[in-house]
Symmetry: C2
Subunit: 198 residues, 2 copies
């Protein structure tokens, strides 16, 4: 509907995740009318990410160096590795400040329908890390959904011949939530995982 | 929370309209993991829009030439001008295929709280266009909200000394809608604007 460049920009924006045709149009007009210096910054930010950001050669987290901040940090406990699907999950866990070990980012979850098998994930890299034998516990923190559970099961089976404790994050009622509105599966898990108070 | 370039990109994306922190993060990771050639296309699309797209010197619509497609098209009726707020509105009206005249894009609506007065809009350019005296009708198609109505009233008053018919798009029940769910103002307008059938 628009002349060349505007329509091309709307099309390109529409390919980004979560951006529908209306948002794409709105953002395109924002870009069109914005200060050229601001838009130069946006372009630069995209270019920088593509040029500078790599994945940590140890854990697979995003990093601008060969290894990421966390893997380079000598204060992080090398005996615990938390296995997550994505770099976003590392940030979410870091925000809790309740984990001082290291991470391993798989790069996704097992999803046969989406064509993602264990070989597309960083499983071999995880096994390689275990050969240094400092590791005492692997905490599996994949998402609590079908793909995440399948991945957790796969990782646990992969590690069963190692003399390493393998744990999984607890499922249960979200804090601040309302029992009445919890779904059956979550409530069932909360029962299974109940803890003795006294 | 992220290392340099990734966080910078999230911040830049978060400045775009309708993109919250979660979407910005999601899009940033998409950009990070996407094919570099695709991202080069996105960057190029942004750059092209900033470099190539201007505003038509006659009507104010977006254009890659000095004047836009519609103003250059000799088949478009020069006796009717439809006044709209934004280029997006031109596209919406073009999609109906019910108007074959020309447009005038004001570049917004009068909004005293937002600091937009008539002088920030392309009012003077509209008056200039009327001096060629081919124009017989001005159709005011600003949004049917407070700012749009104020703008319509302003334009109508501006044109009252010209020998030109000034009309406003009808307000009323949206086609396919349900009378029961129409708001009072819309239903009131539908009464006022009722048409005789026989």
């Amino acid at each position: 509907m628009y002349e060349g460049a505007v329509q091309e920009l709307i099309d390109e924006l529409g390919r980004l995740p979560g951006i529908g045709p209306k948002s794409a149009q709105r953002i395109a007009f924002h870009i069109l009318e914005a200060d050229p210096a601001d838009m130069q910054q946006l372009v630069q930010a995209i270019t920088n990410v593509k040029e500078r950001v790599k994945f940590c050669s140890i854990c697979g987290n995003v990093s601008e160096e060969e290894t990421c901040n966390i893997c380079r940090d000598p204060r992080r406990d090398p005996t615990e590795i938390c296995v997550v699907e994505e770099s976003k999950d590392v940030v979410a866990i870091e925000r809790t400040r309740s984990f001082r070990g290291r991470y391993h980012v798989l790069g996704g979850a097992i999803n046969p329908i989406g064509g993602v098998g264990p070989n597309q994930l960083r499983m071999r890299e995880l096994l390689t890390r275990l050969t240094d034998s400092q590791v005492q516990e692997i905490i599996i923190a994949t998402d609590p959904n079908l793909e995440g559970e399948a991945t957790a099961t796969y990782v646990a089976r992969l590690l069963k011949d190692f003399d390493i404790k393998v744990t999984r994050l607890a499922s249960g009622l979200p804090v601040g939530g309302d029992l009445e509105y919890a779904d059956e599966v979550t409530l069932g898990r909360a029962f299974e995982g109940r803890r003795q108070l006294s």
